[in-house]
């Protein structure tokens, strides 16, 4: 919309929100920045270290590996969840009680606390008491997430797909619902194949919601913590240790305040960078819309 009024009194409307978010975001962030350039021994002894912690963090091979794993993980789950979510959305019934029922069932995994998601999958995949683990073993596959890195990795991806595909599905579903019937009718009259309907009617309508979906999914998968922590504890070895867990271990477990603060800032910046790219993409999309000239 271009017809916004220029009025600086709007700041008064923003103010309460700003104070709260500032309290939650700016003060802690300052603390982090403060730590990242100092070496803290105790409450009274500290040294200025400049960029030392940053250099150390960037050169730390375990963190580099965690970062690589993190990217691999995020792209894997995105590559699976986005197409799968769109597919589910296309399959979901559109009206009647089935629509409500399916909607509720599909949404369910999104509302389960993240550590409980980990517990559910821990129980489900255990070789002795879990249906999936037990079945796989009965079928002759030596499935063990505490020993095999492949099994652990695969299970975490499967869990994330289980947990988060609904988000993409619901976004897409609601995008699909906004397409007027006339489009489908016209397509039938034009003798469009199912693929053509998807390619030229449904997908264009989904672009906006999918950008949001990919953005949210990228962010959350990049911050994933509780689920793998409960399920595998980051193992076997460190094969499923992602960035959040590395950071938590460093900050809380080892109390390495300086390096973990530096790490925090780098972590944050990476997410910001990726999101900035998405934000620009969204902005461009909206600009496109305006140019359509209403």
């Amino acid at each position: 919309m271009n017809n916004k009024v220029y009025n600086n009194r709007a700041w008064w409307l923003i103010l309460p929100m700003l104070l709260l978010v500032a309290f939650s975001a700016i003060i802690p962030l300052m603390t982090v920045v403060n730590y990242s350039v100092q070496d803290v021994f105790d409450a009274h002894t500290r040294f200025f270290t400049g960029t030392e912690w940053f250099r150390e963090t960037l050169n730390d091979p375990t963190l580099q590996m965690a970062l690589l794993r993190q990217f691999a993980f995020s792209f894997t789950v995105l590559a699976i969840e986005v197409p799968l979510g769109i597919g589910i959305a296309l399959l979901m019934p559109k009206r009647g009680w089935q629509a409500s029922a399916v909607l509720i069932l599909v949404t369910m995994p999104l509302l389960i606390p993240w550590n409980v998601v980990g517990s559910i999958w821990q129980i489900f995949t255990r070789g002795d008491i879990g249906l999936m683990g037990w079945s796989l073993r009965e079928l002759g596959y030596g499935y063990n997430i505490t020993r095999s890195a492949t099994d652990a990795w695969g299970t975490i991806v499967l869990m994330d797909v289980w947990h988060w595909t609904p988000l993409i599905a619901l976004l897409s579903y609601s995008g699909l619902r906004s397409i007027p019937d006339a489009y489908y009718q016209a397509a039938r009259i034009d003798r469009a194949s199912q693929w053509a309907v998807f390619r030229y009617i449904q997908l264009p309508k989904l672009t906006n919601v999918l950008v949001i979906g990919v953005l949210l999914r990228f962010m959350h998968s990049f911050m994933i913590y509780a689920e793998p922590f409960v399920l595998t504890g980051g193992g076997p070895g460190s094969s499923t240790t992602f960035l959040s867990q590395s950071l938590t271990t460093m900050a809380i477990g080892q109390q390495d305040l300086g390096p973990s603060a530096a790490f925090s800032i780098i972590y944050f910046l990476i997410i910001l960078l990726v999101c900035w790219v998405f934000y620009t993409a969204i902005m461009n999309l909206q600009k496109d819309k305006q140019e359509r000239g209403v």
């Binding site: 489009y183 034009d190 030229y200």
Partner: protein, 366 residues
Amino acid sequence: MAEITLKGLAHSYLPDPQSPEDYAIREMDHVWHQGGAFALLGPSGCGKSTLLNIISGLLEPSGGEVLFDGEKVNSLSPEARNIAQVFQFPVVYDTMTVYDNLAFPLRNVGTAAGRVHERVMEVAEVLELTPQLKRKAKNLTADEKQKVSMGRGLVREDVSAILFDEPLTVIDPQLKWKLRRKLKEIHRRFNITMVYVTHDQLEASTFADKIAVMYEGQVVQFGTPRELFEAPNHTFVGYFIGSPGMNFLPVAMEGGRVMCGEAPLVVGEAFEKALQATSSENVKLGIRPEFVEAHATEVKGATEAEVVDIQDLGTYAILSLRLGGILLKARLDEDEPRPRVRAWLRFPVGRLGLYVDEFRVEVPHE
């Protein structure tokens, strides 16, 4: 190009229809002849669009048959009926160019690229879309979008029929007129059966050779614009066609005279006989305002009426009158004397119609 026959066709959107009101289409038989230009005229909500969607196959009728050239097509999908339909509001494929939009229906059935190009250029020419061909459909105006929608229907050759569902609603009046002529021209050139849905009688009569008037889910009359004007089959057609609509005077025989309320009417022996013969309570005489003779002075065989209002419209005037408690209208040409307070009305027998239970009954003339 096909002849489309509707046999015992009925449709209800409800799963378990009880009364006639539950039906969007009440049982009807109808034939659209091959190569004709037809209009389907009626007020909104009368079932026009439903009927169109049944013909194109977007809806499956709950009863009866749809036949193309004598073969039942009820279960064939719109894709398989090879039928084109243009909707009321423009539907374009946003991400495609205008060219690709027009080519879409042809490419979907694997038409050779050369032929596609030929057809697209031809249709673009007719619809004056040639300069826009390379533009993305998303950036077009509503007018242009609707032209693209129409183009997608017209680009196909050898279709069974082309159906138009109030296609000119979003088009501005000047272009409307032009496009209607184009359609007519296309019809003459390709001899395709065309059915044009509208609620505008002018639009219907300029486009179509024959008009089907729909009312409450039924085709109440199917005829040329002239037939609809001169001899409406149903009181509704009388009201709906013409401006102002037909006058209907409720009448009854009292003491050997034809009475409209308290006013006696002189309508001739044939009508008197016909009136005598009917047992219905709902009997009306219909006459177009154009045929009502309104005199400023008393004349023989006339009934006196009170003048309520005169509306001067330049070359003619519309007179509102009250006769025996019933309001009616008469049209006066500019050279005729204008009655002021009282008028004496005569109803030429040849122009009168007898309507029993809303339907026209033929009165044999001697």
